[in-house]
Amino acid sequence: MASGLAGQMLAILAALALAPILSGWVAQCRAWLQSRSAPPLWQPWLVLHKLFLREVVLAQGASPLFSAVPFLVFACMVTACAIIPTLSTDLPLSVVADAVALVGVLALARVLLSLAAMDIGTAFGSLGARRDMLVGFLAEPALLMVLFTAALGAHSTALASMVDVLAHRELAILPSLAFAGVAFTMVSVAENGRIPVDNPTTHLELTMIHEALILEYSGPHLALIEWAASLKLFAYSCIGIALFFPWGLAANDSPLALLFALPILVAKLALGGAVLAVAESVSAKMRIFRVPEYLAIAFVLAVIGVLVHILLGS
């Protein structure tokens, strides 16, 4: 049990430390693809460090909710990272929450952030909240369907056992998972506010989704939200890796096994980040009214994944 706790701590710490690095890596790849020299890999850490040193400015009329939300959102994302089998399938917290709870935790963070944006009462806060909820309402069912497709194979909605089953069969990519994989990629892009759904680097208020929600935050509050955003990207990448490329996960909870699993995870994340950067660099942002269509496609593909699973009976 003690080693289990140590392993769990290691997994959480790894997530906290690696998440900003993953964002930095994607930014680096994007810069290179634009013929620019890139900022250092740990640039997001430097930004977080700076933000923690700055003071908080509260907008007029901000309620206590506004100040509480960064901490709550951050806590949600840490929880999400803790229950995802990032390094091992055998961690104490993994049994606490299943896939449905994970979707709930992610949805909670979204609702809190939208509430905080509307709390200030600026036009852009409400605009961003409205758009973000639109994305969320459509993305969450699709995400659930993807997780169900995987759960059908494992006869369990616990993430750890799903991944365990997937990792230890002779051919890991099932036909149903091909559909689920495409659907999951589409949902992840939308949920993390990446191109083509949202542009994380835009300076245009009128086109923003996620950025519009956090315009009023400053200093440590902003740092927590930025950190939470990179944790979210990290969480989604890890779910994707665990479901579709589970090889190399530690099957027990000894810290040594986890330490071996870490470099494999880093390598897979690096590859995934590079692919994300390429995909973002070659595509333009879609119109906002195409987003529902886009997410409807993801949902239908996830449902077909379930159907294919039932048809092939495997």
Binding site: R30, L33, Q34, S35, R36, A123, L127, I195, P196, N199, T201, T202, H203, L204, E205, L206, T207, S281, V282, S283, A284, K285, M286, R287, I288, F289
Partner: protein, 536 residues
Amino acid sequence: MEPSTGDSRPMQGGAPTHDRTSASPPALLIRQAFPSARPMGGELATYHLTATQAQWSMAAAAISSDAGNRPESPSRLIALWGASDADGRPLASAVYGLADGLLWVDLPLDPQSRQYPDLSRAFFFAGRMQRAIFDLGGLRAIGADDVRPWLVHARDADARSPATDYPFVRVSGAGVHEIAVGPVHAGIIEPGHFRFSVSGEKVLRLEARLGYKHKGIDARYTQLDPILAGRLAGRVSGDSTVAHAWAYCMALESAAGIELPPRAAWLRALMLERERVANHLGDLGALANDAGLAFGLAHFSRLRELWLRESDALYAHRLMMDQVIPGGVLVDLDASMVPRIGQACRSMAEEVQRLRAIYDEHPGLQDRFRGTGTISTALARQLGMTGLAGRASGLGRDLRHDHPGQPWSALSVHLCLSSQGDVAARVAIRFDELLESLRLIEAIASRLPPGTHHRALRLPQGHHCGAGAVEGWRGEVLVGLEIEVKGDRSRIVRCHSHDPSWQNWPALEHAIIGNIVPDFPLINKSFNLSYAGHDL
């Protein structure tokens, strides 16, 4: 000078150099009404008249109905402004574009009532100009519908947030709400306030509130020496510095009645085209970036930087400010630079072609560009659009093409035209004009006439008027100027710089109708109008 003679003012150096036989209907009509009208000297044929109120309205009606009746008619209002003449009496001035040149009408006003007949019914975009005229000089258009302030927001300097006091037109209805943006924007954009009335994401109406950059340039001109004021003209809108400075110098040279050395005109044209290339490169990158394709911005901003560095090497200034001076240009072009310019143009054209292919083939980008922010040709004509945005909507007007003075007559400028009127059309026109400008630059550099690049300007004694119009990258830039020289003292009596943004800002408000809110930055960038040039 009697205000009611309806006669043309005597002009200095008024040999009619551009008198053409094929006059347009309104030009004929006006010649009948003003029998003694003669064009001023200068590169562009300009008729300058002092009108009565009846003649003022008659000219507007004739030109407006001609523009409405004949789709291909070039008749249009270019600029409208208010000023005081040398004796301090109020004056309203309008400049029209006709088939054979410009028509400048001055209307002296009664100093007590300070009123002039309204033009906004004949020319849609004149409404804002009239509001600006009232803000700046207290002259009122008789019977104008919209009398809200425009350029001057609050006379009281410490009034808080002037935008909230402004009576915006409100749209009411189920589910309609307002989004207010600005004046300070999130990106690096000039300040302006936009009020959207939206239903969901769809824009029902947009109203712009400009004037944040109002610095009082027309008033500032009168404090400066006519020769030095060229520096101010070059700073009306920094991205069109060559066009504005050239238009000012053309006006001053026409007032002084001097002939520009041919080489100077060619060198100015070279800079004007360089400016066009630089701005189109910047816009093409920014347009892709606004559609989420940062790749486009990276590569076009790279090309723009290379281009600006080349300008820096030639003129020691990246934007070529203060290079066009009264009487010519500041520096001559060294013959050894000609091959280098040609080489730069060819390699630039190659790079642009390559990027154009990527833009044209990119599904996401084309999906954002096509059908977005459409202005039909008919609407464009009604709105009186001009310049690049006008050409994208099928209005084939280009001063370099329509009134080819030197050096354009020797270069036969190709008119780039599209009738689609959407963002994609404005992108395509930019690509076409960019490549055409690169061709022109190479041609100009290789065929530069010999001679001096600058001739000292001596201002003749007395009162003189002059006008200058130049096709800048955004559209036709116009300067109307009156100087007074007494002994060795010279001063500017009145001067007005007109930027084509005046015509196209109202068009932007039409272009967005029915589009979605997140497409506004893209549509706005496809017009890329000047706030500084408009706010003066």
